[in-house]
Structures are given as structure tokens and as C-alpha cells.
Amino acid sequence: MTLNKFNRRKFLRLAATGVGLTMVYFWDKMMDSRLIAAAHKSVVLPLTRNLVSFYRDYLVIRQKQHVKVFSSHCTHLGCIINKVENGKLICPCHGSEFDLNGNAVKGPAYKPLKSYPFEMSNNGQKIIIKATES
């Protein structure tokens, strides 16, 4: 009887753990589509005459005819950079600074801003950032 009891308890525990893991598996499956949806999509942005145009996820830097596109997320903790001062992009959260080539010039960030390849629309007024595998 004791053996049976032990086996039953053990079985139920194992089964419960199994159910728990199954739920985690379901959780994982539920996230699949969301992660894919959250992956980088093709984006079209207007090309303005501003030296730096700020968007939620991108920074477009235009120096005369040279255009560059960077991620607007600071490489320290992902905060959205929304200010340029004296030719430096400044992160509002911890004061990291980047030059207009995306290089970190003041910490805590030390990695350069992520640069995105892009295409110009035919009329030269829009920037197309194509989806990339992430």
C-alpha cells in the first residue's frame, strides 16, 4: 500500500509537472507569431531637410546630400534618443552621446548606434528601410 501511495503521489507530481511544462510549451507557441510580428518590418520615412529627423525607432541624419539612417535606440539600454545638441545625439536616460556617424563619444554607451541600409524613393523625398532578418 505504502509503495502504491508513493507511486501515486510520485505519478501525480510528475503529471502536474508535465502539465506545467505543457503550459510553458503552449506559452512558447503563443509567442511565436508575436515575436515574428515584432521583428523588423519594412518602413518608409519622409526625407526632410533637418540635420537629424527623429522617429520612434529611427534617426535620419542628413548632411547636405549625405543621408544616414540609424536606430534611435541608445545602445546602452534602448532609450529613444530625441535630442541633438552641438552636433551630438544625446540620450535622455543616462546622457550617452553619439556623433552624427553614430559613434558613441560619451558613456555609458560604448557601442555605435545600429546603422540601417536604406533606399531612396525615385523622387528622393522618401527613405525606404527594408525588412531585415533579425
Binding site: M31, A38, R49, H73, I80, H94, P108
Partner: protein, 911 residues
Amino acid sequence: MKQKAEDTGFKTTYGQISLALFAFVLLTGILLAIPFDVNKPYVSISSLMIMNPWASFIRNMHYWSAQLFLIFSLIHMYDHYRKQHDTGLKPGIGFRLSLGVLIIFMAMLTGFLLKGDADSLQARQILGSLTSGIPLVGKFLSASLLGKEGDFLLIYVNHIATFTIFLSVIIVEHSRKFWPKAGDFVLTFVVLVILSYLFSAPLHDNLNPTVKGPWYFVGFQEILHWLRHPEWALFWILLLLILVYFANSGKIKTAFFSKRTLLIFTVFYVMLTVIGLFFRGEHWQWMVPGQKGYHYSLMHNFKTERVDFRPDFSSAQAVEAPLIRGKKESCVVCHNKVHGFTDAHNPAVIGCFSCHGGNPFATDKRQAHKNMRLIPGNLTNASQSCGTTACHPNITQRINTSLMTTLSGMISVDRTVFGEQNNPDLLTDIHYLGHSAADEHLKNLCVRCHLGNPKTILGPVNEKSRGGGCLACHLNYNKRALSELQRHQSQDTSTAYLQFHPSIDLHVSDNHCFGCHSRSGRISTNYEGWHETPMLANKIPDSLGYRLVEGTRVFKKEPEDVHHKLGMECIDCHQSYELMGNGKLYQHEENQEDVQCKDCHFTGKPLTTSANNLNVEAATIAALRYGKISGKNFLMTHKRRQALINTFVKHDTSWLITKTGGKTFRLKKPAAVCTAPAHKNVSCSACHSAWAPSCIGCHNKYDPNEKGYNMVANKEQKGSWVEYTGSYLAQPPALGIRQEGNNKEIIPVIPGMILTIDLQSYTHNLHDSLLFRRLFAPAAPHTTAAKGRTCKSCHNNPVALGFGKGKLQYILHGKQGIWHFSPAYENNIHDGLPEDAWTGFLQNRTGMVSTRRNVKPFSIKEQEKILLVGACLTCHKEKSKVMQKSLNNFEKVLHHRSPECILPVWPERKK
């Protein structure tokens, strides 16, 4: 952790209070779900704060119950650790309790994120970034916690369900209670009601550039700020959770060690929190109380007013008010019929708060107007109003480099004249004036006219105005706005002026410049054709030829500038990068100036740029002024290649359209005489300046009893420098040489400073002698005449040559010609030169001779060259063939001269 059995009545434990607080978190959370809109969190919270004081009150209760729940839960833990009982929990419960601590923080953080304001949006990025940094499952956890970027639904679900249910289960499991005790319930309710009434839960105004996490997070934010690899912070969190676990369920020694470590960490963390809250401002920069901008940068987080259950407006009025920059703003609920703005500054678009500050979520006048800026745009606050990120941040940065802000030249020259520095071309700044004789002199007599001098009185910019930041140029009252303001100023009860707001726009008239530029070089008055006299106001003749300025200064009519006559205003020549600075510091006005006569009056091909190449500021202004600009070609300045947006080139002809009046002019080419080789080094203004004001013989003395004024502090004071002026003259300016490298240019100059300074009167130092200076200054008279000066007015004119007034004669002695000069003024005892002279007749002058290092009077050799032509002009008419020929090749004409020509003989020079 079991509750004490003997706890009854009002005798309670921290755990019991936490339970009661948790009950209120749940209750108020459910109520708050009614007005909260997860699709528009920021709009819905700002709306409920303005439209429904009860909803605001419930939000405050939710906030305060949650904050106190966190605090009391931590104290509850500490209390148990301190008493050293109830440790040795079963590993399962111990594990879940440790996890529970993390879940409390997660529940509160998600609540913070659900505000959807600037603080929350950045906190979301940090949280996402940190969670993603967890090895293997990071991205998966991050997506499960935060959901899609820009969407709050999953955060909301986690906040109200995932974490809340988990916490409920843990609380019930470890306390074995569902309901708080009635006494605790009532007590916490009373405390929460008081707190929630007095202090509103924070909401970022989305304009202030400082962003911070919630108060319990700023210590962590401080730690993150020091970490190049913030992922390491995750190990610290894990370590803390393990310590909490061992403190709960570890063996005695391990538990003791864990508790002590946790205590030390807590003390350390409280210190970091204080630093984060009170010493970190914009961009997490270190700031200390009292520092400039400290209040704006740090204290806005604490702008938590009490709930006003009787707002100054009805909910219906609040509902009708427009959404402004993604939020409801209470200012426009009351100030809902304000007229007078340009489209860009329409309060329906930017609200009142963007410029005037105050509290955009307050519901009564007192709260709303607290810390507001009645007059925004002064340079002390321009970066917080006109220059916020979404508006004109670049301009409010570069304006600080403008000479109109720094006054570099004025200060440097004055200090040099006083002998306090040996170079008038050093970069200086009004903000760094000290207490030397020169600096006191500047403060008493000179430096009122800088853009940083704040505007403190309502009303339009007029001839008495000085400074005023952005408003100095961009403020305009229409008739109604002015009359209503005047009515208000004469009778306090009139409030109609609040409906008629002055306009902030691009119509920068000459009147805006007049207040400051009618002084010193008097560019504004010269341009309009007025010359200042020493006449007293009560002696002003009853005639059209006189004008009274500021009620005391009498001006006499002189020829106006030809551009003024045509209807052009100051801004038709001077573009924004000259006026508002271009980010570089310049010593003197001629260094900062970009536009030159030749930019519009040129021979050969125009220097142009197309509309496509305009920068955003120039393009926006051009479009606002002239409509469609695409396909247009604009003239550019030769010096810095800036587009002149009020010009255009069509079919090889260049045109100018005035910025305000819209008058169109074809731009004229310079006359042949101007471009002739003989005059290649002569600046346009040397010939075309009809007259310039000059003042000679001035004395400066410090009088300790004089009623004076400090122009920097804007305060009256006892003791002041006093200026005793000589006579004012309006005459064609003298000429001199500006040398840049090997380039020489003949320019107009005026007697900037022929003066004496009684230095001893200020310093009381017996070694300080009376200073005498004879300095001329390069001038931009702004009295342009279409027709240039005659040949004789330069070549045969002692004033033009720098000798001063007098009789300059070419005397023939048989076959010899000799130039002779007899001055009109007596020689000055200090240097032996006539009072109004810059240099001696056929003499060299060296040393400190002008207010610049590169400007000098003509040398003997140069005087001889000019007078040689002057000798020719004594016989030959200006328009004679021979003189016209000489413009192209003087040497050749001289070589083939007639035997009757008598050239001057020069006195032998000393070697």
C-alpha cells in the same frame, strides 16, 4: 509568515497593513479601469485629471496604496528579519515569497508604464532592453511582458491579471488571510484619503527633457548609469532574490549573512535613490540645489498638486477642449477664445503650456499658474519654452553664440581701453563681467542692450526696449491686443486683454531693432536719416526736421539710407544666421556679419543656390514668407554661402522682394568707377556712406555719489561711472585701412573713442594716471547713398584722410607743389594731435590706434598716394577724361603727364 495570534483591534503588524493596502490597490484599480483607455493611456489619464476630480482622486488612491504597499511589504520583511523569527520557511513558500518581491516590483513597474508619458515610454525601453538581456529566454520574456512596441494591452493584462493574481495567491498563501482587519482597513483608508487629496500621482508633461523612472527605480537607474554592460545588473537582481530566499528559508548562519547583506544593500540603495531623485537632471547630469535650471530639471517630478473637487470649469467644457500634443491640457479649457496667433503658435495646436509653463493638468487658476512664465522667450527660459525639442531647439542653442547675446566686442574693447587687457579682439561674454573699472563702466553705461536682458513688462517692443530674448524681435501686438492691454493696465479689472494675445511671428520690423541700435553706432537712426544732437528735449525746434526719441534724445534730419527710402527693412539684408548666430562665437560685428554689398550688387555671374539645397530653417521661413519656393534659385552670400531667401534669379536677372512689404526690386550692378582697378581695395561703404555720426572729446569719471544703475542686475545703485560728452557731428566718415593677411581694404571709420578716463576716481590707487585714448572704430554707417562720394571728398579732404577738420591746401611754389594742412581744432595736450584727428598730417601713427588690431590710419606712404591724386584733382575735374583714364591705370597717366603738371614734393622722412 504567520501573523501574531495576539494581534487584535488596532494592535496590528506591518503585514496586516500591507494586506489592507493591497485590498485598496485592487479596489481602486478596478474603479480606475473605468476611465482608463489602454489604447490611449496618456490621453485618458490627462483627461481624467482634468475632467473628473473624483477619477483623479481614485487614481491618486491607487498610486498611494501601491507605493505604501511596497514600502510596508519591505518593512514587513525587515521586521521579520529583525525579530529573527518565522525564518526557516518551507523552500516552496520561501521561493514563492522571494519571487513575490520581484512580482511586487513588476506589478508596480507595469503600472508606471501604463501612464504612457515620456517617463514611461523610456522606462519601457529600459525594461525591454534589460529583459531581453536575460540569456536564452530574454526576447521571449520581454515580448511576453511588454507585447508589441507602441501597444499597451499586454502590459495592462500583466498588470491587472498576471502579477495581481500571483500576488494575491502569495499573500493568501503566506498570511492565510483573505480579508484585512476592519481596523487596518479603516486606518489605511483614512491615510490614503488624506494623501490622495493632498498629493496627486505624478504625470510627465511630455515637454520637460528630464526623464526618470519611478522613485524606487531611480537608484537602479543610477547603477545602470555607471554600467557599460547593463546586463550585469540582472545578476545583481538575481543575487538579491537569492539573498531574500536564503533570508526566508536558509539555515541560521546563511539566513543571518543574507539579512545583513540585504540591510547593507538597502542602505546603499537608499543613498543612490536620493542621488537619483535630487541630484540628477536632464540627461542624468549631476545637478545640485541652487544650480541654474535645477528647479525646472528636477523638481517637475514633484509637481503634485492637491485634488480640487470644485474645478474652475465644468466637465463638459473640459471635454470640448482640444487635445494638445497627445494630451489634454487644462489651460485651454479656460483660455479657450484667445485670438492673435499665427498658425504655428495656435494654442489649439501647441497649447499654452508649451510657452508659458505652469501646470497643464491643474484644475484651478492658482495651481495652473504656479511657476508659470508670464513672459516666455527670455534667454533664461528660452530652452524651456521656444526651444523645446519639438519647436526651435537649434535656434535657442545658437542664439547664445550671437554677438547680440555675448556683446564680446563691446566688452573686449572697453577692457582694452581701460588697459585691463591688451587685445580688443579677445572673445568675451556678458555673463562673465567682474568688478574691475572697465566692467563697472560697462555695467553702468553700456551693456543694457543684450538679448539676454530679460523682458519683464507686458507690451510691445518699442524704442525703450532692451533685450527680451526671442520676443525682442518676434513679438507683435495688433491694435486690439495693444488697446486691451492698455485698458487692463489702466484698470485692473479689465480682462479682455487675455482674449487678444500678441503674435509671435516672422514680422521683424525696424522698430524691433531700434531700441538697441539707436545707440552707440546708431545704425537704426542713421538708416532712417536721423542724427543725434546734444540738444535738450525742451529746446526742440517746432519743425519736421527734428525727432524726439525716448522722450529725451533730440535727433535732427539727415539723408536717409537709400535702401530705407526704397522701403527695405533691416531684415531684408540681414539674415537669421547673422542675427541669431550660427553656432560660432565671433569677436566683433564685422566678424559675425555675413551679408555684404556685393552679394546683391555684383558684376558677372550670380552666386546662387536652388530651393532644394536650402536647409530646413531657411526653406520653412522662405515658404512661410513667399509660398511655393520649389524651382526657385536664390542668391547666396559670398562669405558663408548662406541663401538669401528674399532674392531670386530669373533669366539672368537678380531680384529682391522685401520680407514684410513684398516690394520687388531689380538688383543693380555696381558702377564702372566702383570696379575700376584704382578702387579695388576700397569697400563699397567707404564711398557710399553719405555721413556718419561722430563724437569727440569725451571724459569718463567715476562718481561714488552719483545715482547709478547696474545694467546686468537691472538694479539702481549708488556710485556710477559718468560720461561727459563733447560735440556730435554728422559728416562723411573718415577712412582707414583694415588689413587681413596681405589683403588691405579701405573702410569708413568714426572716432570711436577720443576720450580721457579718470581711473583713479574708481580704483583710488595713486599710481593710476589719467588715461587718454585716441581710437577710431571701423564703422558701418548705414547711410548708403546711391551716388558715391566725389573724388575730392576723399582725396582732398582732411577728415577722410584722418587729419581731422581743417584747411588742406595744395600750394604751388614755382615748379614745386606742397600740401599744407592747418587743423581747425587745437592740439590735444596728451598727444599733440588736433582734437578730432586720427593721425597727424603726413605722419605715421602706431600703437593702440583703433578698437581693432587690424584697423589703422593711413601711413605716410598711403597718405602720399591719396594726396598725389588729390593734387591732380586740384586742376583736373573729376569727370575729365584724364581722371577717368587714371582709374584704370594711374601710373600710365602719370607717366604721360603734361609738362605743366606739378607733382607734390614730400617732406624728407626721418629714418
